[in-house]
């Protein structure tokens, strides 16, 4: 552990001023009051439920679950250490990083939550609107501010959206949840098209920077990919436009059937053209009113918090030679950084056999040390449940890798078949129909041979324990959906989904497989890919070329023979 007298490096990220701090503090007091009123009975459970959800608190299978916001996936080492402390003090010594880049604790007591929220407020964190029928955590590319692929860092806009959406008086009782993501690259690492609303930083024909806004994406019972609402919104108009979309949604969504109340249903019912027309009307009015205009000074002021760190110059851009294991890790887990001599390092929380996305308190503390020592005090969380050190010097990578090996977080599998996304599933979640984690563990162990993983190449497996799709199974190259057949767990296979810039919805193969059949079925599907693929094709590409038939035949053939 680093000498804690030395000040850890302060990452360039948003810092609360006195107003943000007061806001979070007031919110904690408000929730403490609500907890007291619930315990006294002044609030019934029915009344309390939306209030606690809007503070990230679920009642799950074994205990309460608390979901802590990690805005645009960015954490400082101080915040990481606080999460470790909370895991030790109030939970069972670990936390779980989610597909919306938040952190969940699974063993929480209601009576402890106000104290936890106060501790979080000490490090500029909160649980505001991480659940409930409101705008949720705003997510962004985990490589933001580090990659040379972006037009600009999307996080300043994400921070502006976060503030604008926090306890927005008109939109805290929406018909359903509302998830927003922001991107600034052509390669989509934040699954923009799967969000209720997403903003992509773009350049128009004159080279001016503005925003493409899309809406109506979503997972769940009826998955949809988003439609473009406006190809180019001027910078200063963006909040007015986003508010226009939310207003139309709040006014016009159904309220009679909980399964039909996401914005994706509204847009696909009235049609994207009609949606654009309604939004345009609100937007024009808001622009005229002027109160939501975003002045350049304000955008610049927020952007300044995220300015690029002072990178060292004169560093060698060569990758150090530190043995074959290190080289394997570099092959998959290192991404090009915009500054010469630097790299972006992905820490996959997916060592075969581990619970995907889980991190113990000790591991959190160790990663906080790595952040301080090697990554300018900063880490990112991705929606694929991995951690990223955004600014590391290439020459430090061998030391980082060695430390990760000690932590058992050195699996060289980013983007490969064992880099599986899985929700907590029936082991923890009250909504689940089936367990997802053991399936992820089984499949990861089956394919853990590294040569085999490289032979297979890029393959995104995503597992959900129920139709709520928190594991994003609709967007998996191979998706797995847990279902309940008379109290017994079965697993449906979906093929051909994608959460990247080529977003597509996975197709259900057919009847589900039993717990002991599913890994075999996945293996047979992969064997079809290996047999059928053309040079350069990923699994997804081969599936898109040849379709479901051969995969389906293989998957069920052996199951029938068994």
């Amino acid at each position: 552990m680093l000498n804690t007298l030395i000040q850890p490096p302060q990452p360039n990220m948003y810092r609360y001023d006195e107003f943000d701090a007061q806001f979070v503090s007031d919110r904690v007091n408000q929730f403490a009051g609500q907890v007291a009123r619930r315990l006294s009975g002044e609030l019934t459970e029915d009344q309390f439920k939306p209030l606690r959800l809007m503070n990230g608190l679920y009642l799950q299978l074994h205990a309460y679950m608390l979901r802590i916001a990690v805005p645009y996936g960015t954490l400082s080492s101080k915040q990481m250490r606080k999460l470790a402390h909370l895991a030790r003090t109030y939970d069972k010594g670990f936390g779980h990083f989610t597909t919306r880049t938040n952190l969940q604790f699974h063993w929480i007591r209601l009576v402890d939550v106000p104290a936890m929220l106060r501790e979080l407020a000490d490090v500029e964190m909160h649980c505001i609107q991480t659940s409930g029928n409101c705008v949720r955590n705003v997510t962004a590319d985990q490589f933001a501010g580090a990659t040379d692929e972006e037009i600009e860092d999307p996080r300043p806009l994400a921070e502006i959206i976060r503030q604008w959406s926090s306890l927005h008086p008109e939109f805290v009782f929406l018909a359903r949840k509302f998830k927003i993501a922001v991107g600034a690259t052509e390669k989509d690492r934040a699954a923009l098209q799967w969000h209720d609303m997403a903003v992509q930083v773009v350049k128009n024909a004159e080279g001016r920077v503005g925003y493409l806004v899309m809406a109506g994406g979503g997972m769940g019972r009826t998955p949809y990919v988003a439609h473009v609402m406006n190809e180019f919104v001027e910078r200063e108009d963006i909040l007015a436009y986003l508010e226009a979309v939310l207003r139309v949604y709040n006014q016009d969504s159904r309220r009679d059937n909980i399964h039909k109340q996401r914005i994706k249903i509204l847009i696909n019912t009235i049609g994207p053209e009609e949606m654009r027309r309604r939004v345009a009307r609100e937007f024009e009015e808001l622009k005229r009113m002027g109160t939501l205009q975003l002045p350049k000074e304000e955008l610049d002021r927020i952007t300044a918090y995220f300015k690029a760190p002072d990178f060292e110059t004169g560093l060698s851009d060569d990758m150090p030679d530190a043995g074959p294991d290190f080289a394997n890790w570099v092959k998959t887990n290192i991404h090009k950084h915009k500054a010469p001599g630097y790299a972006i390092a992905t820490i996959t929380l997916k060592t075969p056999g581990q619970v995907p996305g889980d991190c113990s308190a000790a591991q959190m503390d160790a990663i906080a040390d790595l952040m301080d020592q090697y990554s300018l005090g900063e880490v990112r969380v991705s929606h694929e449940q991995n951690l990223i050190l955004p600014h590391v010097r290439k020459k430090d990578l061998p030391a980082i890798y060695a430390k990760l090996k000690e932590l058992d977080f050195a699996s060289p599998n980013a983007g490969l078949i064992t880099d599986i996304i899985a929700c907590p599933g029936l082991d923890y979640c009250d909504l689940a129909n089936a367990r997802s984690i053991p399936i992820a563990q089984k499949i990861a162990k089956r394919f853990e041979n590294l040569d085999r993983q490289h032979q297979i190449g890029e393959l995104k497996i995503k597992i959900s324990g129920c139709i709520n799709a928190c594991g994003h199974h609709h967007a998996g190259h191979i998706g797995i959906l847990g279902v309940d057949k008379k109290g017994v767990e079965f697993y449906q296979l979906l093929l051909g989904g994608s959460g990247a810039e080529d977003s597509s919805i996975g197709t259900i193969m057919g009847p589900g497989f039993g717990e002991h059949e599913i890994a075999d079925a996945v293996e047979r599907v992969i064997n079809v890919y290996l047999a059928e693929r053309k040079a350069g094709e990923r699994f997804l590409d081969t599936y898109r070329r040849i379709g479901m038939e051969k995969f389906k035949a293989a998957a069920y053939q052996e199951a029938a023979a068994a």
Binding site: R38, L39, S40, G41, T44, E45, L59, Q60, L61, H62, A63, Y64, K92, H106, W107, I108, R109, L110, V111, V355, L426, D427, Y428, A432, N433, A434, R435, I437, P438, Q441, D484, G487, V488, E489
Partner: protein, 96 residues
């Protein structure tokens, strides 16, 4: 059997007599629908005590002398997560 969650800490409870116990093995098994429904009705009437929430009935069966739930969900709920066997009631852990 009848189960609920304790309000203050979310811990899983099983109905025994007029009260609640923490482990499924100690809970009452209702031999017929009528007695089960009566137990649920009694529990619902007690919600105003603000001690527990969301009571509901679930099926169990006799597995060689041991009472076990029929559904996987209730098996997990009674024991704890299958992926962390050192936590939960299966490890003797309960919330205070």
């Amino acid at each position: 059997m009848l189960t609920a969650n304790r309000l203050r800490d979310g811990d899983v409870l099983y109905r025994k007599g007029d009260g609640w116990v923490l482990f499924l093995a100690d809970g009452d098994v209702y031999p017929d629908q009528a007695s089960a429904d009566a137990a649920l009705a009694a529990a619902n009437a007690e919600l105003v005590r603000n001690e527990f929430v969301a009571p509901y009935l679930f099926e169990v069966r006799d597995a060689g002398g041991k009472i076990v739930p029929v559904k996987e969900r209730e098996i997990v709920r009674a024991a704890g997560p299958t992926v962390h066997r050192h936590t939960g009631k299966q490890a003797g852990q309960v919330h205070a």
